[in-house]
C-alpha cells in the first residue's frame, strides 16, 4: 500500500508504483473529472496540480506523486473564479478538455494573478482543445484575473 495525498486527504493506494496517477485517480479513486486524452503528455486533458504546479497525470507515476499534495478538479476551491468565468463566457463545447484547461489556468493564476498574453500562451499551450474554444479560454482567464481583454 502506498500513501498519496489527494485533495487534502491522505489516501491508501493499492495500485503498483509504476501506475500512472491518471488511472489511480480515475479508476481507483473514482475522481473522473481528470480526463484521458493521449497518455503521452501531449494534450493536457489529464492536468492536475502537484504541490500547486500543473502536471500531466498520465505520465506521472504513483511513485513520483508520493509526498506531493495532489489536487484534481474535484479538489479545486469551491466555485473557483475561473469556473464562474468559464460559465459566463460559455467556454465549453464538448467539455472533455475543460478540466485540464481549468487546472492549467488555475495553476497560472496562483503564481501570476494578472498574467499577460505571453504568460497565458505559455501556461495554456500544452492543453489541446479540439473543439477550438481557445478564444473563450483566453477571455475567461482574463475575466477571472480582472485583466483587460
Amino acid at each position: 500500500m502506498t500513501k498519496l495525498n489527494i485533495n487534502g486527504k491522505d489516501r491508501e493506494i493499492s495500485a503498483a508504483a509504476d501506475t500512472p496517477l491518471l488511472w489511480v485517480l480515475r479508476d481507483e479513486m473514482g475522481l473522473t473529472g481528470t480526463k484521458f486524452g493521449c497518455g503521452i503528455a501531449q494534450c493536457g486533458a489529464c492536468t492536475v496540480h502537484a504541490d500547486g504546479e500543473a502536471i500531466r497525470s498520465c505520465v506521472t507515476t504513483v511513485e513520483m506523486a508520493q509526498g506531493m499534495r495532489i489536487t484534481t478538479i474535484e479538489g479545486l476551491e469551491a466555485k473557483h473564479p475561473l469556473q464562474a468565468a468559464w460559465e459566463r463566457h460559455n467556454v465549453p463545447q464538448c467539455g472533455y478538455c475543460q478540466s485540464g484547461q481549468i487546472m492549467s489556468a488555475a495553476a497560472l493564476l496562483a503564481t501570476k494573478p494578472k498574467p499577460n498574453d505571453a504568460e497565458i500562451v505559455e501556461a495554456m499551450n500544452g492543453n489541446i482543445c479540439r473543439c477550438g474554444c481557445y478564444n473563450r479560454i483566453v477571455a475567461a482567464i482574463k475575466d477571472a484575473a480582472g485583466v483587460a481583454a
Binding site: 460559455n90 467539455g95 482543445c129
Partner: protein
C-alpha cells in the same frame, strides 16, 4: 444529464391526457397511441417536455450533444413558447426510440448534417406552446377567470384582475388533464424573449467546468470490466495467432479473448488492460490488407484525375459544348488540389459501455446515431433493434466519427461483452487506436481546367474529382445516383461559380478503398470548398481583379444572394482593401453548406516558413440564429478545426501502417496558433439552418488565398505545413 427516470405508475395515470408525437398533437388515448406510449417515457406534455411539481422544466433532446451546443438551442425552442424560466430549464437525452425520436427526412434517430435546430424548429416550439396552453387552461379553470386574461412570463402564470399567480409546478396535475390544442398558436418572432438573444446560454457549461459532466470514459459500475483491443496495424488484416501468456500475468487482467476485430484484453481497470495489451504478442494475416502508402494512393488519384490511369467517370454537371472550349492555352488555367486523409481526433477517444443480456443489450456511450447503432447491434445479436437499449451520454467530441455507419467500436464493445456473461464492459480506445483506426476523411484529388473570357471570367469549366465514396455500403446509399456520391461532390455541384459558367463538364470517380473512410465535419465541403475557393482566387489573380470584386461579379451572375450578402458584410467588417502591414495579407473565401453561407476573411503572414493567422472575420447567414452565442462559438470552433487540418492534418500511411497515431505525430492547432475570430451574423427571418459544420471548410481556402496574395504561389496540396 444522468439516465432516464421512469415516471411512476400512479403519476403516470394521473398525467394521462395527451401525447405529442412527431410534433403533432394527438388527443386522447387510443389503443395505438397507448402502445407507442408504453415504449416511451410517457409524459402528459409529450415526449419532449417534462414539467415537475418543483417548477423544473426538462427538455428531452432527441439530438445528441457532441459539443456543438445544439441541446441548449433545442431547450430554448421549448422554453420560448412555454415562457419558462430559463434558469429552471435542463436537458435530458432521449431514449433510443425511432418511433418517437426519428428526425424528419431521414426517418431515423441521428445527429448530423447540422440539422438539429432546423428539424426541431416547429416540433419543439409546438411542444412548448401546447404545454403552455394546457397550463393556461388549467389556471383559468382553477381561478375561474377567462383563459385569454392569463399571461405567462418567466415560468409564472398570472391574472392581473384577480392578482392570482402560480408557477407551473403547482398546476402540473390539473394541466396534464387538459386536452391539448390541436394546433398550438406560435409566437411571432417580434415577441421572442429568448430565441435570438444571448440569454440562450450553454446549459452544460457548469457541469463541463467542474469535471462533473459524465462522459463514456467516466462510466463506472460494480463488476464493470475494461477492454482494450489489439487491432491489426494494417487495414483489412486479421489475427493469425496470438500468445497471451505474458498478458494474462499482468495484475488486474481478467481474460484475453479473440473477437472479429482483434484480440481483447479484459481487465478490472484501464491501466491493467492497456498494460495487458502491451504484453500481448499477435501475428497478423495481411493477405487482404492494404499495404500501400498514403503517398502512393495520392499518386494514383492524381493519375486518375489526369487521365493517365483510365477510370469510369460519372458526370454530375454537364452544360454546353466542352469540345472546343479549351482550345486556347493562353486562356486556360490548370488547377490541381490534393488533400490527405484526415482523422477526426476528437478529444475523447472512441469508447462504449456494453452489457449483453439474455435478450438484447444495453449500450451506454456518447451515441450519435441511435437507430443505425441499434440496427447493427441487433443484427449482430439476432434480436430486435428495440431490444438494444441505448443510454446516450454527452460525447467528448465527434466531428462525425461517432456516427460511423458500421458501428465499428460499438460492435467491438458488444463482441467483448457477449463473451463476458452478463457483466458490463467498457471498451476503451487509446489515442493510438482512435487515430490509427481508420474511418478518415478520404484522400481526394481535384483537377480543374478553366477557360476564361476576355475579361478573365470563366467561360468553360472542366472538373474531375477522385474521392472514395462516403455513402457506399451505408444506410444512405440512396444518395449515390448514376455513380455519383453527392457527398463527394457537393460544393462543386451547385457552386455559384459553375452556375455562372456557360460550359461545364464536371465528373467524379469513387475508387474502392481499403482504408476505411467516412464523413468529417462539413463532409464534402472539407475538400470542395478548398478547391473551388482557391481556384477562384487563382482566376482572379490571373485576371488582375480584386478577389472580392471577382466573386461579386460571379455571384451576381449566379443570383447567389446569400453569398453576396455575407461577402459584403465580411469585407466591410474586415476592412477589405485597406492597407495592411508589410508581410501580411488578407485572404477571402465564401462557401455554402447545410443551408448556411459563411464568408471568412483571414489576416495571414509567414513566420519561420509557417502560415500565421492572426485574425479571422466571419459573416454567416444561417437563417434565424436561435442561440447567437452558440452560432458564434461554432464559427470559432469550426475555424480552429478547419485551420488545424489545413495547416497540419495528414494521416500518413507507410507500407499500409498509419505512422502518426497520437498528437506527437499528428499535429493539431494549439492556443498559440489560434487566431482571434470575430463573428457577424446576418439578420434573417428564414427558418434556422446549420451552424455546427458550415464554419469549418472556409478558413482553409481563405488562408491559401492570403498566401497566394503574399507569395504569388498557388497551393496545390494540403497540409500547408509539411511535417
Amino acid at each position: 444529464m444522468s439516465g432516464h427516470e421512469r415516471i411512476g405508475a400512479s403519476r403516470r395515470e394521473l398525467l394521462i391526457g395527451a401525447l405529442l408525437v412527431g410534433g403533432t398533437l394527438v388527443v386522447g388515448g387510443t389503443p395505438a397511441l397507448a402502445a407507442v406510449a408504453d415504449e416511451a417515457d410517457f409524459v402528459a406534455f409529450g415526449p419532449f417536455v417534462r414539467i415537475a411539481p418543483d417548477d423544473s422544466v426538462t427538455v428531452i433532446a432527441k439530438f445528441s450533444e457532441l459539443g456543438q451546443g445544439a441541446q441548449s438551442g433545442l431547450a430554448a425552442l421549448v422554453a420560448e413558447e412555454l415562457d419558462a424560466d430559463w434558469s429552471k430549464v435542463s436537458v435530458e437525452n432521449a431514449a433510443a426510440d425511432v418511433k418517437l425520436y426519428a428526425r424528419g427526412g431521414f426517418g431515423i434517430q441521428l445527429t448530423g448534417g447540422s440539422g438539429s435546430i432546423t428539424d426541431s424548429w416547429d416540433q419543439l416550439r409546438k411542444a412548448g406552446a401546447a404545454a403552455r396552453a394546457m397550463f393556461v387552461s388549467a389556471a383559468a379553470a382553477e381561478w375561474g377567470v377567462p383563459a385569454a386574461e392569463i399571461t405567462v412570463e418567466n415560468g409564472i402564470l398570472s391574472h392581473a384582475g384577480s392578482g392570482k399567480h402560480s408557477g407551473f409546478g403547482r398546476l402540473v396535475a390539473a394541466a396534464a388533464k387538459v386536452t391539448p390544442p390541436a394546433e398550438p398558436k406560435l409566437k411571432p418572432a417580434s415577441a421572442y424573449k429568448l430565441i435570438g438573444t444571448n440569454r440562450v446560454t450553454r446549459l452544460d457549461a457548469r457541469a463541463k467546468s467542474t469535471g462533473t459532466a459524465r462522459f463514456t470514459q467516466d462510466v463506472q459500475s460494480p463488476g464493470m470490466l475494461i477492454a482494450v483491443v489489439a487491432h491489426s496495424p494494417r487495414f483489412g488484416g486479421t489475427v493469425a495467432s496470438f500468445d497471451d501468456k505474458a498478458a494474462r500475468k499482468v495484475a488486474g487482467v481478467v481474460d484475453v479473448v479473440q473477437i472479429p476485430s482483434g484480440v481483447a484484453v479484459v481487465a478490472s481497470n484501464t491501466h491493467a488492460a492497456i498494460a495487458g495489451r502491451d504484453a500481448l504478442v499477435v501475428q497478423w494475416n495481411d493477405d487482404k490488407a492494404e499495404k500501400r502508402s498514403s503517398g502512393a494512393i495520392a499518386e494514383q488519384y492524381r493519375a486518375m484525375a489526369h487521365g493517365t490511369e483510365a477510370v469510369q467517370w460519372a458526370p454530375f454537371d454537364q452544360r454546353g459544348d466542352a469540345a472546343k472550349a479549351f482550345d486556347d492555352p493562353a486562356r486556360t488555367l490548370d488547377i490541381d488540389m490534393t488533400q490527405p486523409f484526415l482523422a477526426h481526433a476528437s478529444m475523447e477517444p472512441m469508447n462504449c459501455v456494453a452489457l449483453v443480456k439474455e435478450k438484447g443489450a444495453k449500450l451506454t456511450f456518447g451515441c450519435q446515431s441511435q437507430t443505425m447503432d441499434q440496427n447493427v447491434i441487433a443484427a449482430l445479436l439476432g434480436c430486435d433493434p428495440s431490444d438494444v437499449e441505448i443510454e446516450t451520454l454527452p460525447a467528448g467530441g465527434s466531428f462525425g466519427r461517432r456516427s460511423v455507419a458500421t458501428a465499428d467500436y460499438q460492435k467491438e464493445a458488444v463482441e467483448v461483452a457477449r463473451r463476458m456473461k452478463g457483466r458490463p464492459v467498457k471498451l476503451v480506445w487509446t489515442r493510438e487506436d482512435d487515430m490509427g483506426g481508420g474511418y478518415y476523411r478520404p484522400l481526394t484529388h481535384h483537377r480543374a481546367r478553366v477557360a476564361v473570357d476576355a475579361a478573365g471570367y470563366p467561360s468553360a469549366w472542366e472538373h474531375r474529382i477522385v474521392t472514395a465514396s462516403l455513402m457506399r455500403g451505408t444506410p444512405f446509399e440512396m444518395v449515390i445516383k448514376d455513380g455519383v456520391d453527392s457527398t463527394g461532390v457537393e460544393g462543386v455541384q451547385g457552386s455559384p461559380y459553375l452556375k455562372a459558367t456557360p460550359v461545364v463538364d464536371a465528373r467524379a470517380f469513387h475508387p474502392e478503398t481499403k482504408v476505411p473512410v467516412m464523413w468529417l465535419r462539413s463532409v464534402g465541403a472539407t475538400h470542395t470548398a478548398m478547391m473551388m475557393e482557391h481556384a477562384i482566387d487563382q482566376l482572379a489573380h490571373r485576371a488582375k481583379v480584386d478577389p472580392v470584386a471577382y466573386r461579386r461579379a460571379l455571384y451576381a451572375k449566379a443570383k447567389a444572394e446569400s453569398h453576396l450578402a455575407v461577402l459584403d458584410l465580411a469585407a466591410q467588417k474586415a476592412g477589405w482593401g485597406k492597407p495592411i502591414e508589410k508581410g501580411w495579407a488578407r485572404g477571402v473565401a465564401v462557401h455554402e453548406c447545410f443551408g448556411s453561407t459563411v464568408a471568412n476573411i483571414a489576416e495571414v503572414s509567414l513566420v519561420n516558413g509557417e502560415p500565421r493567422v492572426r485574425r479571422v472575420v466571419v459573416a454567416i447567414d444561417c437563417g434565424i440564429a436561435v442561440a447567437p452565442d452558440q452560432v458564434r462559438a461554432q464559427m470559432e470552433g469550426g475555424i480552429m478545426y478547419g485551420l488545424s487540418y489545413t495547416l497540419f492534418g495528414d494521416v500518413k500511411i507507410e507500407d499500409g501502417i498509419v505512422q502518426n497515431r497520437n498528437f506527437d505525430g499528428y499535429r493539431v492547432l494549439r492556443l498559440e496558433e489560434a487566431p482571434i475570430v470575430e463573428v457577424h451574423i446576418l439578420p434573417s427571418t428564414r427558418t434556422p439552418a446549420g451552424a455546427g459544420e458550415p464554419g469549418t471548410p472556409v478558413i482553409g481556402p481563405a488562408v491559401a488565398n492570403a498566401l497566394l496574395a503574399l507569395t504569388g504561389k498557388p497551393t496545390t496540396a494540403l497540409p500547408l505545413v509539411k511535417a
